[in-house]
C-alpha cells in the first residue's frame, strides 16, 4: 500500500530525518498562506499516488506567494497522466508546499525487499533524482547495494560501505549512516516493501534533507499495523474497485471490451492472455478467489457486466475449493437483477460442475456454454464485436 509523499515525510520527521519546511494544502488560499510563511521561492508538489509527477506537470516552482496561489489554482482538480496512472489520470486534491533547498548534491537512497536475494537491499546512488531502475540499466557502476538481514538490520560496516561509496564527508557521513539506521529500523518494524528517498539532498550547508519520500507497505502485514492501514487514500479508486475490495475480489479495470470472471490469479491472467491471443481485449482482471461467497460472485458479475465498455463476458471457472454451483447461483442472482442483455460465455470445470451448469441453464438466461477453454475464448471475442 502506497502512501502519499506528505504522509511518508511525517514518518521521516518523527524518525528525526530532516525534511524541507512546508505544509499540505487543499485550497489555493491555503497554498498562498503556507508560501507566505515560508518567505522564499516554494515548490508545489501534487499529492497523487504515482511517480513521474514532474513530467506530468504536477510539480511547480513559485517565486512568490501570488504565483504559488495562481499555480495551485491550476493544479487543483487537474488530472495528472503519468506512466502509472492509466489514461484516466489522477486528480490533484492536495498540494505539498515546501521551501526550496540550496542543492549541492542529489543522492538516491532506497530500501527494498529483494526477491532474488531474499533479503532487504539498501541501495544508494550518487545520482539522485533519477529513477533507480533506469540508472541500473544505464550506469550500474553508480549504484551500490548492501543486503541486510531482517533480524540484524543495518550493520555498522554496511552503513560505512555505502557512505564511503557516496563520498560523504564529516557531519554528512555520520548523519547519512544514522538516517540509514533509522530508516532500516522503521522499514523492518513497519513491514515496508519499498522506501525511497529520491533525492536525498546534500544542501550547501552540508545538511542532508529528504526532498522526496516514497513508502510502500506490505498489504499482507496491515493487520498488525492498523495505524498504517488507516492512511490508505481511496479517492482515486472507482466505486467498482471499492466495492470489489469490500467483497475481497481482486479486480483491476482495464481498457478492453470483454469482461472476465475467473477463479484464481493465474487462470485469470491466462484468460486475459487468451482473449488477447484471439484478437480481443480484456476489460478487466478479476479473480474471485478461493473463499468467495455467493454474494461476492453476484457483486463481481454486476461490476463487470455493468461496465459500459464491456460488450461480452467470459466466465472461466475451474472448480477446486470454489464450487461451480455456488458461482452459478451468484451469477444468476446478479444477472436477474441487472436484466442481462450482453452475451455471456460460460466455461466451467471441476467441483460440482454439473450442478452449476444446471442452475445456469434452468435460469432461462441467455448464457453460452462452451466446455473447451479455447473455444470459449474465441466465442467471447467474436461476441464482443457483434
Amino acid at each position: 500500500m502506497l502512501i502519499h509523499e506528505y504522509q511518508a515525510k511525517e514518518f521521516l520527521k518523527h524518525l528525526g530525518i530532516k525534511i524541507p519546511e512546508g505544509g499540505v494544502a487543499e485550497t489555493p488560499e491555503k497554498v498562498r498562506e503556507i508560501a507566505e510563511e515560508l518567505l522564499v521561492p516554494v515548490i508545489l508538489k501534487s499529492q497523487v499516488l504515482s511517480g513521474g509527477r514532474g513530467k506530468a506537470g504536477g510539480i511547480i516552482i513559485a517565486r512568490n506567494p501570488e504565483e504559488a496561489e495562481a499555480s495551485a489554482r491550476n493544479l487543483f482538480g487537474k488530472k495528472l497522466i503519468t506512466g502509472q496512472s492509466g489514461n484516466r489520470g489522477l486528480t490533484v486534491r492536495k498540494i505539498l508546499v515546501e521551501k526550496t533547498l540550496k542543492i549541492k548534491r542529489e543522492i538516491y537512497l532506497g530500501l527494498t525487499v529483494d526477491r532474488r536475494n531474499e533479503g532487504v537491499a539498501a541501495i544508494v546512488s550518487s545520482e539522485g533524482g533519477m529513477e533507480i531502475e533506469e540508472l541500473a540499466r544505464s550506469n550500474p557502476e553508480l549504484i551500490k547495494k548492501e543486503y541486510l538481514s531482517p533480524e540484524t538490520g543495518l550493520l555498522p560496516f554496511q552503513g560505512r560501505n555505502l557512505a564511503y561509496f557516496l563520498e560523504l564527508q564529516n557531519g554528512a557521513f555520520n548523519t547519512f549512516i544514522e538516517y540509514l539506521r533509522k530508516l532500516t529500523g522503521f522499514f523492518l518494524s513497519h513491514d515496508l516493501k519499498l522506501l525511497e528517498i529520491n533525492p536525498l539532498i546534500l544542501t550547501e550547508e552540508d545538511e542532508l534533507v529528504a526532498a522526496d519520500a516514497k513508502m510502500d507497505f506490505d498489504d499482507c502485514s496491515l493487520f498488525r499495523h492498523p495505524e498504517i492501514a488507516a492512511l490508505e487514500d481511496l479517492s482515486e479508486a472507482s466505486p467498482q474497485e471499492i466495492e470489489a475490495r469490500h467483497f475481497h475480489l481482486n479486480y483491476i479495470k482495464m481498457d478492453g471490451h470483454i469482461g472476465c470472471l475467473v477463479n484464481g490469479a493465474g487462470l485469470a491472467m491466462a484468460t486475459m492472455d487468451i482473449i488477447k491471443y484471439f484478437g480481443g481485449e480484456p476489460a478487466n482482471f478479476l479473480d474471485i478467489g478461493g473463499g468467495v461467497t455467493e454474494e461476492a460472485v453476484s457483486k463481481a458479475f454486476e461490476i463487470l457486466i455493468e461496465d459500459p465498455q464491456v460488450t461480452s463476458a467470459l466466465i472461466n471457472i475451474f472448480g477446486g475449493i470454489v464450487r461451480c454451483d455456488l458461482v452459478a447461483k451468484g451469477i444468476v442472482a446478479s444477472a436477474r437483477k441487472v436484466s442481462l442483455k450482453k452475451p455471456v460465455v460460460v466455461r466451467m470445470e471441476g467441483t460440482n460442475v454439473a450442478e452449476g451448469k444446471k442452475i445456469l441453464e434452468e435460469s432461462g438466461l441467455p448464457f453460452h456454454f462452451v466446455n473447451n477453454f479455447e473455444e470459449a475464448a474465441r466465442l467471447a471475442v467474436a461476441l464482443s464485436r457483434t
Binding site: V113, N250, I252, M254, M269, A270, G320
Partner: protein, 290 residues
C-alpha cells in the same frame, strides 16, 4: 519414483482443527495420503478426523514420525509454523497459507537454511504425486499417474494444465505449486533439478507468471545444465499492466522488470518450448514427448 512425495510419505497437518484444514485433510485421507497426525496448540490429546492431535510439532514428530507437514494456519502465525516444523526436523514443509507478510517469510527462509528443511509455498495448492500421495488442496480427480512433471506458480492454472494433460491421456509424475508469493521456498530451479533425477519424469511443464526472476533463473539453469529432458513453459500475464498486483502477492511488474515477455524470451533462448495459448498446454507437451 516421483519427487518430494510417494506412498510412504507420512504427513502432519498443522492447524488441523481449522475449517479449511479439516475439509482438506478429509480429502487427503480419501485420496490415500498417509496423514498420521495433526497439531493445534491447546488441543493436544484430542482426536480429529480419527487422527491424534498434538500441542506441538515436536510432540507429533516424537509420536508419529511424520516427514512431511502441511500448514493451514492463519497468516499471522504461518511463518512461525514453518519454523516450528523445521525445528522439529520435518524434511518437507508445504505451506498453503496465503497472505503471509513478506518480512516474516524472509526470516523463516533464513531459519530454514540453517535447519536444512525444504519448503513448498506459501500460497500454494500443494504437491501431488498422483496415485501415491496428495498434500494440498488440489482437486484430486483431474490427476492421473504418468510421466509429466509440473512446476507452477499458480493454483487454478495448474489444475487447467493438469486437466488438459489428463484429457490427452498424459499423466503426471508430480505436480508442484511453488506458490504465488514474492518469497517462496523451492523454486523452478530446485524442482527442475529434482525432476532431472526422477526416472518417472519424461518432460517438465513450467507455469510461470509475471513478477520476480524465477523464470529467468530457470532459463539460465536449463541452458547451463544442458537440461536432459524436454521442457515446455507457459507464462501468464502477457496482458498485465505494469505496477498492478494481479491477485498473487508476487505477480507484479515492478520497475519495468518481471514482464511475461522478458521471461518468455529468456526461456526460449534456453531451448524451452514456449506455449503461447494457455488452452494448448496439454497438446504442446504431447507434441513435445511424441
Amino acid at each position: 519414483m516421483s519427487i518430494l512425495l510417494d506412498e510412504s510419505s507420512r504427513v502432519l497437518v498443522q492447524g488441523i482443527t481449522g475449517k479449511q484444514a479439516s475439509f482438506h485433510t478429509q480429502r487427503m485421507l480419501e485420496y490415500g495420503t498417509k496423514v498420521v497426525a495433526g497439531v493445534t496448540p491447546g488441543k493436544g490429546g484430542q482426536r480429529h478426523l480419527g487422527l491424534p492431535v498434538f500441542d506441538t510439532v515436536e510432540q507429533a514428530v516424537k509420536a508419529e514420525a511424520p516427514d512431511v507437514s502441511v500448514i493451514f494456519v492463519p497468516p499471522l502465525a504461518a511463518a512461525e509454523a514453518i519454523m516450528e516444523a523445521a525445528s522439529a526436523g520435518i524434511k518437507l514443509i508445504v505451506c498453503i497459507t496465503e497472505g503471509i507478510p513478506v518480512l516474516d517469510m524472509l526470516r523463516a527462509k533464513k531459519f530454514l537454511k540453517e535447519k536444512g528443511s525444504l519448503l513448498v509455498g506459501p500460497n500454494t495448492p500443494g504437491v501431488i504425486s498422483p496415485g501415491k500421495s496428495k498434500v494440498g488442496i488440489m482437486p484430486a480427480h483431474i490427476h492421473q499417474p504418468g510421466s509429466v512433471g509440473i512446476i507452477s506458480r499458480s493454483g487454478t492454472l495448474t489444475y487447467e494444465a493438469v486437466y488438459q494433460l489428463t484429457s490427452l491421456g498424459l499423466g503426471q509424475s508430480t505436480a508442484v505449486g511453488i506458490g504465488g508469493d514474492p518469497i517462496v521456498g523451492l523454486k523452478f530451479v530446485d524442482l527442475l533439478e529434482l525432476f532431472k533425477n526422477d526416472l518417472q519424469t519424461e518432460a517438465v511443464v513450467l507455469i510461470g507468471e509475471i513478477g520476480g526472476t524465477a523464470e529467468e533463473e530457470a532459463a539460465k539453469y536449463i541452458k547451463q545444465s544442458n537440461y536432459p529432458k524436454p521442457v515446455a513453459a507457459y507464462v501468464a500475464g502477457l496482458t498485465a499492466p505494469p505496477g498492478k498486483r494481479l491477485g498473487h502477492a508476487g505477480a507484479i511488474i515492478e520497475g519495468g522488470q518481471g514482464s511475461a515477455g522478458e521471461k518468455l524470451q529468456k526461456l526460449k533462448e534456453a531451448g524451452v518450448k514456449i506455449i503461447d495459448n494457455p488452452a494448448r498446454i496439454g497438446q504442446t507437451v504431447k507434441d513435445l514427448i511424441s
